[in-house]
Protein backbone atom coordinates (compact mmCIF):
# COMPACT_ATOMS: atom_id res chain seq x y z
CA UNK A 1 0.00 0.00 0.00
CA UNK A 2 1.34 3.43 -0.89
CA UNK A 3 2.16 6.02 1.68
CA UNK A 4 -0.94 7.78 2.94
CA UNK A 5 -3.43 5.25 1.54
CA UNK A 6 -4.91 3.73 4.64
CA UNK A 7 -8.08 2.64 2.92
CA UNK A 8 -9.13 0.94 -0.27
CA UNK A 9 -11.27 2.22 -3.07
CA UNK A 10 -14.16 -0.19 -3.32
CA UNK A 11 -15.29 0.50 -6.83
CA UNK A 12 -11.95 1.43 -8.37
CA UNK A 13 -12.38 -0.93 -11.28
CA UNK A 14 -15.34 1.08 -12.47
CA UNK A 15 -13.71 4.46 -11.93
CA UNK A 16 -11.63 6.36 -14.43
CA UNK A 17 -8.15 7.77 -13.80
CA UNK A 18 -9.61 11.21 -13.17
CA UNK A 19 -12.40 10.02 -10.93
CA UNK A 20 -9.92 8.07 -8.86
CA UNK A 21 -7.62 11.00 -8.22
CA UNK A 22 -10.64 13.17 -7.41
CA UNK A 23 -11.80 10.54 -4.93
CA UNK A 24 -8.33 10.01 -3.48
CA UNK A 25 -7.72 13.71 -3.09
CA UNK A 26 -11.06 14.11 -1.35
CA UNK A 27 -10.23 11.35 1.11
CA UNK A 28 -6.73 12.74 1.68
CA UNK A 29 -8.46 16.04 2.33
CA UNK A 30 -10.47 14.36 5.11
CA UNK A 31 -7.22 13.43 6.82
CA UNK A 32 -5.17 16.51 6.01
CA UNK A 33 -6.79 19.92 6.54
CA UNK A 34 -3.92 21.65 4.74
CA UNK A 35 -4.87 20.31 1.32
CA UNK A 36 -6.57 22.92 -0.87
CA UNK A 37 -7.77 22.29 -4.42
CA UNK A 38 -7.53 24.85 -7.21
CA UNK A 39 -8.84 24.66 -10.75
CA UNK A 40 -9.56 26.94 -13.69
CA UNK A 41 -13.08 26.23 -14.89
CA UNK A 42 -12.30 22.53 -15.19
CA UNK A 43 -13.64 21.21 -11.91
CA UNK A 44 -15.78 18.68 -13.76
CA UNK A 45 -13.40 17.84 -16.59
CA UNK A 46 -10.39 17.28 -14.35
CA UNK A 47 -12.51 15.63 -11.62
CA UNK A 48 -10.93 17.79 -8.95
CA UNK A 49 -14.49 19.06 -8.45
CA UNK A 50 -15.09 15.93 -6.40
CA UNK A 51 -13.04 17.61 -3.67
CA UNK A 52 -15.46 20.52 -3.68
CA UNK A 53 -18.42 18.36 -2.71
CA UNK A 54 -16.78 17.47 0.58
CA UNK A 55 -14.46 20.41 1.23
CA UNK A 56 -16.12 23.42 -0.36
CA UNK A 57 -14.24 25.83 1.90
CA UNK A 58 -10.91 24.51 0.58
CA UNK A 59 -11.86 24.54 -3.07
CA UNK A 60 -11.12 27.51 -5.33
CA UNK A 61 -12.26 27.94 -8.91
CA UNK A 62 -10.23 30.63 -10.67
CA UNK A 63 -12.25 30.84 -13.83
CA UNK A 64 -10.16 30.62 -16.96
CA UNK A 65 -6.94 32.08 -15.55
CA UNK A 66 -4.43 29.28 -15.25
CA UNK A 67 -1.28 31.36 -14.82
CA UNK A 68 -2.66 33.42 -11.99
CA UNK A 69 -3.92 30.25 -10.33
CA UNK A 70 -0.33 28.99 -10.17
CA UNK A 71 0.79 32.28 -8.62
CA UNK A 72 -1.93 32.03 -5.99
CA UNK A 73 -0.95 28.42 -5.29
CA UNK A 74 2.63 29.53 -4.63
CA UNK A 75 1.42 32.20 -2.23
CA UNK A 76 -1.04 29.92 -0.45
CA UNK A 77 1.76 27.49 0.36
CA UNK A 78 3.36 30.20 2.53
CA UNK A 79 0.87 29.47 5.30
CA UNK A 80 1.55 25.73 5.29
CA UNK A 81 -1.26 24.81 2.94
CA UNK A 82 -0.65 22.18 0.24
CA UNK A 83 -2.21 23.57 -2.91
CA UNK A 84 -3.19 21.00 -5.54
CA UNK A 85 -3.70 22.65 -8.91
CA UNK A 86 -5.53 20.85 -11.66
CA UNK A 87 -6.09 21.79 -15.27
CA UNK A 88 -5.35 20.34 -18.70
CA UNK A 89 -1.68 19.51 -19.28
CA UNK A 90 -1.44 21.89 -22.24
CA UNK A 91 -2.24 24.79 -19.94
CA UNK A 92 -0.49 23.57 -16.79
CA UNK A 93 2.81 22.88 -18.52
CA UNK A 94 2.87 25.35 -21.39
CA UNK A 95 0.73 28.39 -20.61
CA UNK A 96 1.83 28.31 -16.99
CA UNK A 97 5.45 27.32 -17.60
CA UNK A 98 7.03 30.53 -16.34
CA UNK A 99 4.76 30.70 -13.32
CA UNK A 100 5.64 27.11 -12.46
CA UNK A 101 9.34 27.92 -12.92
CA UNK A 102 9.41 31.17 -10.95
CA UNK A 103 6.53 31.04 -8.50
CA UNK A 104 6.68 27.35 -7.62
CA UNK A 105 10.17 26.00 -8.37
CA UNK A 106 12.39 29.04 -7.81
CA UNK A 107 10.39 30.02 -4.72
CA UNK A 108 10.51 26.33 -3.68
CA UNK A 109 6.82 26.03 -2.83
CA UNK A 110 5.04 22.83 -1.88
CA UNK A 111 2.59 22.87 -4.79
CA UNK A 112 1.20 19.82 -6.59
CA UNK A 113 0.08 20.00 -10.20
CA UNK A 114 -2.27 17.35 -11.55
CA UNK A 115 -2.40 17.78 -15.29
CA UNK A 116 -5.13 15.92 -17.09
CA UNK A 117 -5.79 15.33 -20.81
CA UNK A 118 -2.07 14.86 -21.41
CA UNK A 119 -0.43 13.43 -24.52
CA UNK A 120 -2.98 12.72 -27.24
CA UNK A 121 -5.62 11.54 -24.77
CA UNK A 122 -7.96 14.39 -25.69
CA UNK A 123 -7.63 13.19 -29.29
CA UNK A 124 -10.66 14.70 -31.01
CA UNK A 125 -9.93 18.16 -29.57
CA UNK A 126 -6.82 18.42 -31.72
CA UNK A 127 -3.29 19.65 -31.06
CA UNK A 128 -4.30 22.76 -29.07
CA UNK A 129 -5.66 20.43 -26.43
CA UNK A 130 -3.08 17.67 -26.77
CA UNK A 131 0.09 18.01 -24.76
CA UNK A 132 3.13 16.23 -26.11
CA UNK A 133 5.66 18.60 -24.56
CA UNK A 134 4.89 18.61 -20.84
CA UNK A 135 7.37 15.95 -19.75
CA UNK A 136 10.15 17.85 -21.53
CA UNK A 137 9.16 21.16 -19.96
CA UNK A 138 8.60 19.80 -16.47
CA UNK A 139 11.79 17.71 -16.46
CA UNK A 140 13.71 20.94 -16.96
CA UNK A 141 12.09 22.59 -13.93
CA UNK A 142 14.52 22.69 -11.01
CA UNK A 143 13.41 20.45 -8.14
CA UNK A 144 10.25 19.24 -9.87
CA UNK A 145 9.20 15.61 -9.46
CA UNK A 146 7.54 14.39 -12.67
CA UNK A 147 5.17 11.44 -12.69
CA UNK A 148 3.17 9.76 -15.50
CA UNK A 149 1.07 7.03 -13.85
CA UNK A 150 0.08 4.08 -16.03
CA UNK A 151 -3.55 3.90 -14.90
CA UNK A 152 -6.13 4.91 -12.31
CA UNK A 153 -4.65 2.76 -9.55
CA UNK A 154 -1.21 4.25 -10.01
CA UNK A 155 -2.78 7.68 -10.11
CA UNK A 156 -4.29 7.01 -6.69
CA UNK A 157 -0.89 6.03 -5.33
CA UNK A 158 0.89 8.90 -7.06
CA UNK A 159 -1.58 11.44 -5.65
CA UNK A 160 -1.09 10.17 -2.10
CA UNK A 161 2.69 10.06 -2.54
CA UNK A 162 2.72 13.60 -3.96
CA UNK A 163 0.96 14.94 -0.88
CA UNK A 164 3.52 13.17 1.35
CA UNK A 165 6.43 14.49 -0.73
CA UNK A 166 7.79 17.86 0.39
CA UNK A 167 8.24 19.87 -2.80
CA UNK A 168 6.67 20.49 -6.19
CA UNK A 169 5.22 17.51 -8.04
CA UNK A 170 3.78 17.29 -11.55
CA UNK A 171 1.46 14.37 -12.27
CA UNK A 172 0.27 13.91 -15.85
CA UNK A 173 -2.75 11.77 -16.49
CA UNK A 174 -4.97 11.17 -19.50
CA UNK A 175 -8.53 12.07 -20.26
CA UNK A 176 -9.61 9.13 -18.14
CA UNK A 177 -10.81 6.69 -20.75
CA UNK A 178 -7.63 4.62 -20.50
CA UNK A 179 -8.02 0.93 -19.64
CA UNK A 180 -6.43 -0.12 -16.34
CA UNK A 181 -3.07 -1.86 -16.06
CA UNK A 182 -3.71 -3.10 -12.53
CA UNK A 183 -6.66 -4.94 -10.98
CA UNK A 184 -6.50 -3.34 -7.57
CA UNK A 185 -4.27 -1.30 -5.27
CA UNK A 186 -2.34 -4.31 -4.03
CA UNK A 187 1.10 -3.50 -5.46
CA UNK A 188 4.13 -1.53 -4.36
CA UNK A 189 4.53 1.91 -5.86
CA UNK A 190 7.18 4.42 -4.95
CA UNK A 191 8.25 7.74 -6.47
CA UNK A 192 11.39 7.16 -8.55
CA UNK A 193 11.18 3.38 -8.52
CA UNK A 194 10.34 1.62 -11.80
CA UNK A 195 8.07 -1.41 -11.67
CA UNK A 196 9.01 -4.53 -13.61
CA UNK A 197 5.75 -5.54 -15.29
CA UNK A 198 7.34 -8.34 -17.21
CA UNK A 199 10.71 -10.00 -16.77
CA UNK A 200 12.75 -10.49 -19.91
CA UNK A 201 16.27 -11.02 -21.20
CA UNK A 202 16.24 -10.22 -24.94
CA UNK A 203 15.01 -6.64 -25.02
CA UNK A 204 13.51 -4.07 -22.65
CA UNK A 205 10.58 -1.77 -23.28
CA UNK A 206 10.57 1.19 -20.91
CA UNK A 207 7.20 2.90 -20.93
CA UNK A 208 5.08 5.37 -19.03
CA UNK A 209 1.42 6.32 -18.97
CA UNK A 210 -0.94 4.39 -21.26
CA UNK A 211 2.03 2.95 -23.19
CA UNK A 212 2.80 0.60 -20.27
CA UNK A 213 -0.31 -1.48 -20.92
CA UNK A 214 0.47 -1.50 -24.63
CA UNK A 215 4.04 -2.61 -23.93
CA UNK A 216 2.73 -5.41 -21.73
CA UNK A 217 0.52 -6.63 -24.55
CA UNK A 218 3.33 -6.35 -27.10
CA UNK A 219 5.57 -8.39 -24.78
CA UNK A 220 2.94 -11.10 -24.54
CA UNK A 221 2.68 -11.24 -28.33
CA UNK A 222 6.47 -11.35 -28.72
CA UNK A 223 6.59 -14.24 -26.29
CA UNK A 224 4.63 -16.28 -28.86
CA UNK A 225 7.60 -15.70 -31.17
CA UNK A 226 10.01 -16.92 -28.57
CA UNK A 227 11.21 -13.50 -27.43
CA UNK A 228 11.77 -12.60 -23.82
CA UNK A 229 10.73 -8.94 -23.39
CA UNK A 230 11.26 -7.01 -20.20
CA UNK A 231 8.68 -4.30 -19.58
CA UNK A 232 9.47 -1.49 -17.17
CA UNK A 233 6.75 0.82 -15.95
CA UNK A 234 8.77 4.01 -15.59
CA UNK A 235 6.02 6.02 -13.95
CA UNK A 236 8.45 8.56 -12.52
CA UNK A 237 10.25 10.47 -15.26
CA UNK A 238 12.12 12.59 -12.74
CA UNK A 239 13.94 11.47 -10.69
CA UNK A 240 14.44 8.64 -13.18
CA UNK A 241 15.21 5.17 -11.88
CA UNK A 242 18.72 5.15 -13.37
CA UNK A 243 19.48 1.82 -11.75
CA UNK A 244 16.61 0.10 -13.57
CA UNK A 245 17.75 1.61 -16.87
CA UNK A 246 21.34 0.46 -16.29
CA UNK A 247 20.17 -3.01 -15.37
CA UNK A 248 18.10 -3.20 -18.57
CA UNK A 249 21.07 -1.96 -20.57
CA UNK A 250 23.42 -4.55 -19.14
CA UNK A 251 20.95 -7.43 -19.18
CA UNK A 252 19.33 -6.90 -22.59
CA UNK A 253 21.45 -4.41 -24.57
CA UNK A 254 18.34 -3.43 -26.50
CA UNK A 255 15.94 -0.80 -25.23
CA UNK A 256 12.75 0.71 -26.61
CA UNK A 257 11.07 3.63 -24.93
CA UNK A 258 7.37 4.31 -25.42
CA UNK A 259 5.46 7.39 -24.35
CA UNK A 260 2.41 9.39 -25.39
CA UNK A 261 4.66 12.43 -25.79
CA UNK A 262 7.18 13.92 -28.20
CA UNK A 263 10.37 11.87 -28.51
CA UNK A 264 12.20 15.08 -27.70
CA UNK A 265 12.74 15.73 -24.04
CA UNK A 266 10.49 13.16 -22.43
CA UNK A 267 10.97 9.61 -21.16
CA UNK A 268 12.99 8.54 -24.22
CA UNK A 269 15.41 11.41 -23.81
CA UNK A 270 15.73 10.78 -20.09
CA UNK A 271 16.60 7.13 -20.74
CA UNK A 272 18.98 8.12 -23.57
CA UNK A 273 20.79 10.46 -21.16
CA UNK A 274 21.51 7.59 -18.83
CA UNK A 275 22.64 5.26 -21.62
CA UNK A 276 24.83 7.86 -23.32
CA UNK A 277 26.59 8.73 -20.08
CA UNK A 278 27.16 5.12 -19.11
CA UNK A 279 29.82 4.47 -21.76
CA UNK A 280 28.13 1.21 -22.56
CA UNK A 281 26.83 0.15 -25.97
CA UNK A 282 23.12 -0.32 -26.49
CA UNK A 283 20.54 -0.18 -29.25
CA UNK A 284 17.89 2.40 -28.42
CA UNK A 285 14.64 3.20 -30.20
CA UNK A 286 12.39 5.96 -28.98
CA UNK A 287 8.67 5.63 -29.70
CA UNK A 288 6.44 8.64 -29.39
CA UNK A 289 5.50 11.66 -31.48
CA UNK A 290 8.39 12.13 -33.93
CA UNK A 291 8.48 15.95 -33.99
CA UNK A 292 4.96 16.12 -35.41
CA UNK A 293 1.58 17.17 -34.07
CA UNK A 294 -0.97 14.40 -33.94
CA UNK A 295 -4.10 14.98 -35.96
CA UNK A 296 -7.52 15.21 -34.33
CA UNK A 297 -8.94 11.75 -33.83
CA UNK A 298 -9.66 9.05 -31.30
CA UNK A 299 -6.72 8.50 -28.94
CA UNK A 300 -6.48 4.81 -29.79
CA UNK A 301 -6.21 5.67 -33.49
CA UNK A 302 -3.59 8.34 -32.80
CA UNK A 303 -1.59 5.97 -30.63
CA UNK A 304 -1.73 3.45 -33.46
CA UNK A 305 -0.65 6.02 -36.05
CA UNK A 306 2.27 7.10 -33.93
CA UNK A 307 3.22 3.53 -33.08
CA UNK A 308 2.84 3.72 -29.33
CA UNK A 309 0.14 1.06 -29.15
CA UNK A 310 0.78 -2.69 -28.89
CA UNK A 311 1.08 -3.03 -32.68
CA UNK A 312 3.65 -0.25 -32.89
CA UNK A 313 5.67 -1.55 -29.98
CA UNK A 314 5.55 -5.11 -31.36
CA UNK A 315 6.83 -3.81 -34.70
CA UNK A 316 9.62 -1.89 -32.95
CA UNK A 317 10.61 -4.99 -30.97
CA UNK A 318 11.02 -6.97 -34.22
CA UNK A 319 13.01 -4.13 -35.77
CA UNK A 320 15.34 -3.64 -32.82
CA UNK A 321 15.94 -7.37 -32.47
CA UNK A 322 17.45 -7.27 -35.97
CA UNK A 323 19.83 -4.48 -35.02
CA UNK A 324 23.18 -4.98 -33.41
CA UNK A 325 24.98 -2.59 -31.18
CA UNK A 326 28.50 -1.76 -32.31
CA UNK A 327 31.13 -4.09 -30.96
CA UNK A 328 34.01 -2.49 -32.90
CA UNK A 329 37.05 -1.40 -31.00
CA UNK A 330 38.03 1.50 -33.21
CA UNK A 331 35.01 2.24 -35.43
CA UNK A 332 37.39 3.24 -38.20
CA UNK A 333 35.06 1.79 -40.80
CA UNK A 334 32.41 4.27 -39.72
CA UNK A 335 34.48 7.38 -40.38
Amino acid sequence: MAIGLTWTIDDADTMTQGEIYGEVLTRLGDENPNIVALTADLAGSTKIGKFQTKHADRFFNFGIMETNMVGFASGMAESGLIPVVSTFAAFAALRCAEHVRTDVCYNRRNVKIIATHSGTSFGPAGPTHHCIEDLAVMRAMVGMTVIAPADAYETAKATAAAIEHDGPVYIRIGRSFEPPLWKDLDFDWEIGKAITINEGTDITVIACGPAVLHAKEAAERAKQNGLSVRVLDMHTIKPLDNEAVMKALIDTRRIITAEDHSVMGGLGTAVADVIAQSGKGCVLKKLGLQDVFAAAGYPEDLQHQHKIDADGIEEAIAEVMKMDFEADEDWEDEI
Binding site: V36, F62, G63, M65, G71, F72, G75, S79, H99, Y106
Partner: protein, 288 residues
Amino acid sequence: MALAAEELKMLQDKAYQIRRRIVQVTERSGGGHLGGSLSQTDILVALYYKYMNINKDDPRWPERDRFVLSKGHGGLGHGVILGDLGYVADEDLDKFGKTGSIFGMHLDRHKVPGVDASTGSLAHGFGIGLGFALGARLKGLPWHTYIVLSDGELHEGTIWEAAMAGAQFNLTNQTTFIDRNRLMIDGFTEDIMKLEPLQDKWAAFGWNVMRIDGHDFNQICQATEDAKKVTDKPTVIICDTVKGKGVEFMEDERKWHYGGLDDAMAKDALASLDEGKKKRDAAEKKAS
Protein backbone atom coordinates in the same frame (compact mmCIF):
# COMPACT_ATOMS: atom_id res chain seq x y z
CA MET B 1 -4.76 62.81 8.88
CA ALA B 2 -1.66 64.63 9.91
CA LEU B 3 1.14 62.69 11.49
CA ALA B 4 2.65 64.09 14.66
CA ALA B 5 5.61 66.29 13.72
CA GLU B 6 8.05 63.97 15.42
CA GLU B 7 6.80 60.88 13.62
CA LEU B 8 6.70 62.65 10.28
CA LYS B 9 10.29 63.76 10.78
CA MET B 10 11.33 60.23 11.74
CA LEU B 11 9.85 58.84 8.52
CA GLN B 12 11.29 61.61 6.36
CA ASP B 13 14.72 61.22 7.90
CA LYS B 14 14.58 57.47 7.45
CA ALA B 15 13.64 57.87 3.79
CA TYR B 16 16.54 60.29 3.36
CA GLN B 17 18.97 57.78 4.92
CA ILE B 18 17.61 54.95 2.79
CA ARG B 19 17.99 57.00 -0.40
CA ARG B 20 21.56 57.92 0.55
CA ARG B 21 22.35 54.28 1.11
CA ILE B 22 20.78 53.32 -2.24
CA VAL B 23 23.21 55.71 -3.91
CA GLN B 24 26.18 54.41 -1.92
CA VAL B 25 25.39 50.76 -2.63
CA THR B 26 25.03 51.54 -6.32
CA GLU B 27 28.40 53.25 -6.37
CA ARG B 28 30.12 50.44 -4.48
CA SER B 29 28.51 47.56 -6.32
CA GLY B 30 28.77 48.97 -9.82
CA GLY B 31 25.14 49.47 -10.74
CA GLY B 32 21.54 49.24 -9.70
CA HIS B 33 17.92 50.01 -10.45
CA LEU B 34 18.12 53.51 -9.07
CA GLY B 35 15.01 55.17 -10.51
CA GLY B 36 12.44 52.71 -9.19
CA SER B 37 14.26 52.17 -5.90
CA LEU B 38 14.14 55.90 -5.22
CA SER B 39 10.50 56.28 -6.29
CA GLN B 40 9.25 53.46 -4.04
CA THR B 41 11.23 54.51 -0.97
CA ASP B 42 8.59 56.51 0.89
CA ILE B 43 5.97 53.76 0.48
CA LEU B 44 8.38 51.10 1.80
CA VAL B 45 9.58 53.31 4.64
CA ALA B 46 6.01 53.94 5.83
CA LEU B 47 5.31 50.20 5.75
CA TYR B 48 8.53 48.97 7.34
CA TYR B 49 8.94 51.68 9.98
CA LYS B 50 5.32 52.34 10.94
CA TYR B 51 2.87 49.66 9.86
CA MET B 52 4.39 46.23 9.38
CA ASN B 53 4.33 43.91 12.32
CA ILE B 54 7.85 42.49 12.13
CA ASN B 55 10.39 41.18 14.58
CA LYS B 56 13.73 42.96 14.46
CA ASP B 57 15.48 39.93 15.88
CA ASP B 58 13.88 37.34 13.63
CA PRO B 59 13.20 38.09 9.98
CA ARG B 60 11.37 34.76 9.64
CA TRP B 61 9.11 35.22 12.68
CA PRO B 62 6.03 33.21 11.59
CA GLU B 63 3.49 35.83 12.61
CA ARG B 64 5.15 38.71 10.78
CA ASP B 65 3.23 40.72 8.23
CA ARG B 66 4.23 39.66 4.73
CA PHE B 67 5.71 41.94 2.10
CA VAL B 68 5.87 41.25 -1.62
CA LEU B 69 7.78 43.56 -3.92
CA SER B 70 6.19 42.51 -7.19
CA LYS B 71 8.36 45.08 -8.94
CA GLY B 72 11.34 42.90 -8.12
CA HIS B 73 13.81 45.29 -9.75
CA GLY B 74 13.24 47.52 -6.73
CA GLY B 75 15.29 44.93 -4.84
CA LEU B 76 18.09 47.46 -4.39
CA GLY B 77 15.85 49.77 -2.37
CA HIS B 78 14.26 46.86 -0.53
CA GLY B 79 17.66 45.38 0.30
CA VAL B 80 18.84 48.67 1.75
CA ILE B 81 15.87 48.71 4.11
CA LEU B 82 16.53 45.10 5.14
CA GLY B 83 20.11 46.18 5.84
CA ASP B 84 18.93 49.11 7.92
CA LEU B 85 16.71 46.75 9.92
CA GLY B 86 19.77 44.64 10.65
CA TYR B 87 18.58 41.62 8.67
CA VAL B 88 21.60 41.74 6.37
CA ALA B 89 25.14 42.97 6.87
CA ASP B 90 26.45 46.19 5.36
CA GLU B 91 29.27 44.34 3.63
CA ASP B 92 26.73 42.07 1.93
CA LEU B 93 24.85 45.09 0.64
CA ASP B 94 28.02 46.62 -0.73
CA LYS B 95 28.49 43.49 -2.85
CA PHE B 96 25.01 43.88 -4.33
CA GLY B 97 24.73 41.98 -7.61
CA LYS B 98 28.30 40.71 -7.52
CA THR B 99 29.37 37.10 -7.90
CA GLY B 100 29.04 35.26 -4.60
CA SER B 101 26.78 37.92 -3.08
CA ILE B 102 23.49 36.97 -1.44
CA PHE B 103 22.04 39.79 -3.51
CA GLY B 104 21.10 39.54 -7.15
CA MET B 105 19.33 42.53 -8.64
CA HIS B 106 16.08 40.72 -7.85
CA LEU B 107 15.99 39.38 -4.31
CA ASP B 108 15.91 35.65 -3.58
CA ARG B 109 13.82 34.74 -0.53
CA HIS B 110 16.07 31.79 0.21
CA LYS B 111 19.19 33.96 0.36
CA VAL B 112 18.13 37.34 1.73
CA PRO B 113 16.58 37.29 5.22
CA GLY B 114 13.35 39.27 5.33
CA VAL B 115 12.30 38.55 1.75
CA ASP B 116 9.01 36.67 1.58
CA ALA B 117 8.76 36.09 -2.16
CA SER B 118 11.42 35.81 -4.85
CA THR B 119 10.26 38.15 -7.57
CA GLY B 120 11.73 39.72 -10.66
CA SER B 121 9.57 38.48 -13.49
CA LEU B 122 7.02 41.28 -13.52
CA ALA B 123 3.44 40.71 -12.37
CA HIS B 124 4.16 37.37 -10.71
CA GLY B 125 4.35 38.93 -7.25
CA PHE B 126 0.76 40.10 -7.34
CA GLY B 127 -0.76 36.61 -7.55
CA ILE B 128 1.77 35.32 -5.03
CA GLY B 129 0.96 38.13 -2.60
CA LEU B 130 -2.77 37.67 -2.98
CA GLY B 131 -2.18 33.94 -2.44
CA PHE B 132 -0.45 34.84 0.85
CA ALA B 133 -3.60 36.70 1.86
CA LEU B 134 -5.98 33.93 0.80
CA GLY B 135 -3.90 31.29 2.60
CA ALA B 136 -3.69 33.37 5.77
CA ARG B 137 -7.43 33.90 5.83
CA LEU B 138 -8.11 30.22 5.30
CA LYS B 139 -5.74 29.26 8.12
CA GLY B 140 -6.98 32.02 10.41
CA LEU B 141 -3.51 33.58 10.58
CA PRO B 142 -3.22 37.16 11.81
CA TRP B 143 -0.78 38.58 9.33
CA HIS B 144 -1.53 41.28 6.80
CA THR B 145 0.09 41.17 3.37
CA TYR B 146 1.49 44.30 1.73
CA ILE B 147 2.16 44.23 -2.00
CA VAL B 148 3.96 46.84 -4.07
CA LEU B 149 3.46 46.87 -7.84
CA SER B 150 5.16 49.02 -10.42
CA ASP B 151 3.04 50.84 -12.97
CA GLY B 152 4.82 49.29 -15.94
CA GLU B 153 3.94 45.77 -14.84
CA LEU B 154 0.26 46.70 -15.04
CA HIS B 155 0.63 45.99 -18.76
CA GLU B 156 0.84 42.29 -17.98
CA GLY B 157 -2.36 40.28 -18.24
CA THR B 158 -1.34 38.39 -15.12
CA ILE B 159 -2.00 41.55 -13.07
CA TRP B 160 -5.59 41.79 -14.21
CA GLU B 161 -6.19 38.08 -13.73
CA ALA B 162 -5.01 38.50 -10.15
CA ALA B 163 -7.05 41.70 -9.73
CA MET B 164 -10.19 39.80 -10.72
CA ALA B 165 -9.38 36.99 -8.31
CA GLY B 166 -8.53 39.41 -5.49
CA ALA B 167 -11.97 40.96 -5.80
CA GLN B 168 -13.72 37.60 -6.22
CA PHE B 169 -12.13 36.30 -3.01
CA ASN B 170 -12.50 39.73 -1.33
CA LEU B 171 -8.95 39.79 -0.02
CA THR B 172 -9.13 42.59 2.50
CA ASN B 173 -6.27 41.23 4.61
CA GLN B 174 -3.86 42.69 2.09
CA THR B 175 -3.10 46.18 0.81
CA THR B 176 -1.67 46.78 -2.63
CA PHE B 177 0.35 49.87 -3.52
CA ILE B 178 1.22 50.97 -7.05
CA ASP B 179 4.44 52.93 -7.49
CA ARG B 180 3.06 55.13 -10.27
CA ASN B 181 6.28 56.78 -11.39
CA ARG B 182 5.01 56.94 -14.99
CA LEU B 183 8.25 55.73 -16.53
CA MET B 184 9.32 52.41 -17.87
CA ILE B 185 12.59 51.43 -19.54
CA ASP B 186 11.74 52.78 -22.98
CA GLY B 187 9.81 55.87 -21.96
CA PHE B 188 6.56 57.08 -20.40
CA THR B 189 3.81 54.50 -19.97
CA GLU B 190 1.30 56.84 -21.56
CA ASP B 191 3.41 57.07 -24.72
CA ILE B 192 4.17 53.36 -24.96
CA MET B 193 1.00 51.62 -23.74
CA LYS B 194 -1.55 53.75 -21.97
CA LEU B 195 -2.52 52.82 -18.42
CA GLU B 196 -4.86 55.68 -17.52
CA PRO B 197 -7.50 56.07 -16.30
CA LEU B 198 -6.07 53.78 -13.67
CA GLN B 199 -8.62 54.46 -10.92
CA ASP B 200 -11.46 53.56 -13.27
CA LYS B 201 -9.73 50.36 -14.36
CA TRP B 202 -9.18 49.13 -10.81
CA ALA B 203 -12.66 50.18 -9.74
CA ALA B 204 -14.11 48.28 -12.68
CA PHE B 205 -12.22 45.21 -11.48
CA GLY B 206 -13.98 45.48 -8.13
CA TRP B 207 -11.31 47.16 -6.03
CA ASN B 208 -11.51 49.99 -3.54
CA VAL B 209 -9.20 52.57 -5.12
CA MET B 210 -7.33 55.48 -3.58
CA ARG B 211 -4.94 57.82 -5.34
CA ILE B 212 -2.37 59.75 -3.38
CA ASP B 213 0.96 61.54 -3.55
CA GLY B 214 3.37 58.69 -2.99
CA HIS B 215 5.98 60.99 -1.48
CA ASP B 216 3.71 62.55 1.15
CA PHE B 217 3.87 60.53 4.37
CA ASN B 218 0.65 62.04 5.67
CA GLN B 219 -1.18 60.76 2.62
CA ILE B 220 0.56 57.37 2.57
CA CYS B 221 -0.28 56.77 6.22
CA GLN B 222 -3.84 58.03 5.92
CA ALA B 223 -4.48 55.74 2.94
CA THR B 224 -2.85 52.74 4.61
CA GLU B 225 -5.12 53.16 7.61
CA ASP B 226 -8.23 53.89 5.58
CA ALA B 227 -7.63 50.76 3.51
CA LYS B 228 -7.98 48.56 6.58
CA LYS B 229 -11.43 49.96 7.32
CA VAL B 230 -12.81 48.75 4.00
CA THR B 231 -14.11 45.21 4.33
CA ASP B 232 -16.23 44.68 1.24
CA LYS B 233 -13.49 45.16 -1.35
CA PRO B 234 -9.73 44.74 -1.53
CA THR B 235 -7.83 48.01 -1.62
CA VAL B 236 -5.29 49.35 -4.06
CA ILE B 237 -3.52 52.63 -3.39
CA ILE B 238 -2.19 54.30 -6.52
CA CYS B 239 0.80 56.33 -5.40
CA ASP B 240 1.87 59.07 -7.79
CA THR B 241 5.62 59.17 -7.53
CA VAL B 242 8.67 60.51 -9.32
CA LYS B 243 11.18 58.09 -10.74
CA GLY B 244 14.59 58.88 -9.28
CA LYS B 245 12.95 60.92 -6.48
CA GLY B 246 15.33 62.99 -4.41
CA VAL B 247 18.26 63.05 -6.81
CA GLU B 248 17.56 66.00 -9.02
CA PHE B 249 19.47 64.86 -12.10
CA MET B 250 17.75 61.47 -12.01
CA GLU B 251 14.20 62.67 -11.48
CA ASP B 252 11.86 61.81 -14.35
CA GLU B 253 14.79 60.65 -16.47
CA ARG B 254 14.19 57.29 -18.04
CA LYS B 255 17.88 56.57 -18.42
CA TRP B 256 18.12 56.20 -14.64
CA HIS B 257 15.96 53.09 -14.62
CA TYR B 258 19.25 51.27 -14.18
CA GLY B 259 22.70 52.72 -13.96
CA GLY B 260 26.09 52.89 -12.36
CA LEU B 261 27.66 55.81 -10.53
CA ASP B 262 31.26 56.91 -10.52
CA ASP B 263 32.70 58.89 -7.60
CA ALA B 264 31.70 62.27 -8.93
CA MET B 265 28.16 61.23 -9.84
CA ALA B 266 27.66 59.58 -6.49
CA LYS B 267 28.89 62.73 -4.78
CA ASP B 268 26.44 64.82 -6.83
CA ALA B 269 23.62 62.43 -6.05
CA LEU B 270 24.33 62.55 -2.32
CA ALA B 271 24.64 66.33 -2.44
CA SER B 272 21.25 66.53 -4.11
CA LEU B 273 19.70 64.38 -1.38
CA ASP B 274 21.42 66.48 1.30
CA GLU B 275 20.14 69.65 -0.33
CA GLY B 276 16.60 68.28 -0.26
CA LYS B 277 16.90 67.49 3.41
CA LYS B 278 18.34 70.91 4.18
CA LYS B 279 15.41 72.58 2.45
CA ARG B 280 12.92 70.40 4.30
CA ASP B 281 14.56 71.09 7.64
CA ALA B 282 14.56 74.82 6.97
CA ALA B 283 10.88 74.76 6.00
CA GLU B 284 10.04 72.81 9.14
CA LYS B 285 11.96 75.25 11.30
CA LYS B 286 10.15 78.14 9.72
CA ALA B 287 6.77 76.47 10.19
CA SER B 288 7.40 75.75 13.85
